[in-house]
Symmetry: C3
């Protein structure tokens, strides 16, 4: 079965770089699934720079909300897909669904189902958000609850899992 590699870590802990290193171990063609939505020029520029750094080793697909669909729609020859990142995707999904969001919504369900029988090798980047003091903001508290549970569910189905600290991956499983 195609491997599913889960890579979590704090902000600026080197998780995306480690994910790219792992993705480059797979033969081309490779897909990069960007979950960030582009709101302004500053962000467009950052995304352009990131894309330039990755070079043409990756085919980039934007999937701010419909992540499982984007993974299912990749060209059949795709060998590996790097999803960066789950936390931004979750934020988009919660915003998109609004009141209608639930942790059992179709989009999350579809992702977890796909990861149990992935169409290609999949590397997923996520964020550790829960090791600080309890946030005073109720929305922030809810987001870290939901993000923490999603991390657990994805890591549970992954074949390998890591957390990066100061740029170095620690293997969780």
């Amino acid at each position: 079965m195609n491997p599913v590699i889960y890579i979590s870590g704090g902000c600026r802990s080197g998780k995306s770089r480690y994910a790219e290193t792992r993705a480059n171990e797979f033969a081309a063609p490779r897909a990069y699934i960007a979950t960030a939505e582009i709101f302004d020029e500053e962000m467009r520029e950052r995304v352009r720079l990131h894309r330039e750094q990755r070079g043409n080793a990756f085919h980039t697909v934007e999937a701010p909300v419909r992540l499982a669909e984007a993974l299912r729609s990749l060209p059949a020859a795709t060998n590996v897909a790097l999803v960066d990142c789950l936390t931004v995707w979750l934020g988009n999904l919660m915003h998109h669904r609004g009141e209608d969001f639930s942790e059992d919504c179709q989009e999350i369900h579809a992702l977890l189902k796909l990861l149990q029988d992935p169409p290609c090798s999949i590397i997923l980047v996520s964020n550790e958000l829960g090791m600080g003091i309890v946030p005073e903001n109720a929305l922030a508290r809810r987001f870290r609850d939901v993000a923490g549970r999603l991390n657990q569910r994805v890591a549970a189905v992954a074949s390998e899992a890591y957390v990066t600290v100061s740029g170095i991956p620690l293997q969780l499983k």
Copy 2:
């Protein structure tokens, strides 16, 4: 000697679930020491749901402040006690003692003493609070200092220690 198992982790990192898994490896009777105080109906409902999930595999004791006494007063046959969690207990203790709180207070001293010769196997859940940015709130800064030092003192006397990340326990010792 009876083992003392320390399990820390961030918010929604799977620490309580891992603690229950470990507790279920011990034969009954098992005690669940809940340190949370029930303030409102929403919380009463959450506690009821948690208790229902644990089923009758555990005998539940509430110990918001007098934790060592609760552990000492368990029925003699008790094989394992799961304390969930140290961080909430510390918050209660600081609130209860007010100006009179010190890290050398009787309650903390009694817990550390008990852990050096535990009356049954003990599993303690705690929280990692110190890996975010320095909080602007002085009380939050103080709490994470005191909680961090308590975690160190408890982990030091534990026979096993873990930190859970994305639902997966990493062994510290």
Copy 3:
């Protein structure tokens, strides 16, 4: 070549204590490089207490900004230098340089260069700041970005790296 030992960890996670334990494994003379600036009497008292705890096993040098210079200027016989800590140093450096700060500034460049051919064994303490929720404060967001990248660069050139959790060091490399 002289070892470079990188020790990160959250607030009150035991990183400084572990760093002192490691430093004491080296023969004297030992240097303690304090990066904190002393602003008031409370801090002066805390620093005095820390110094007293370390006893005269260490020669203390203050280096709030010019860290590489301080390391280069140690007496030639110095066997090991303990730098506590990188995060406070970075904050001082950003404050000192103001608008003129960049991650490629001379001070950072000089430190990284020195660590590639260290004049004595060097132990560096740093902080994990990136595992909480995204801070609302833009300066805090920028600081955790810059601190995270510095941690990665220093850990990359270290010969050993650790993260302490609840007082226990986990080896990263």
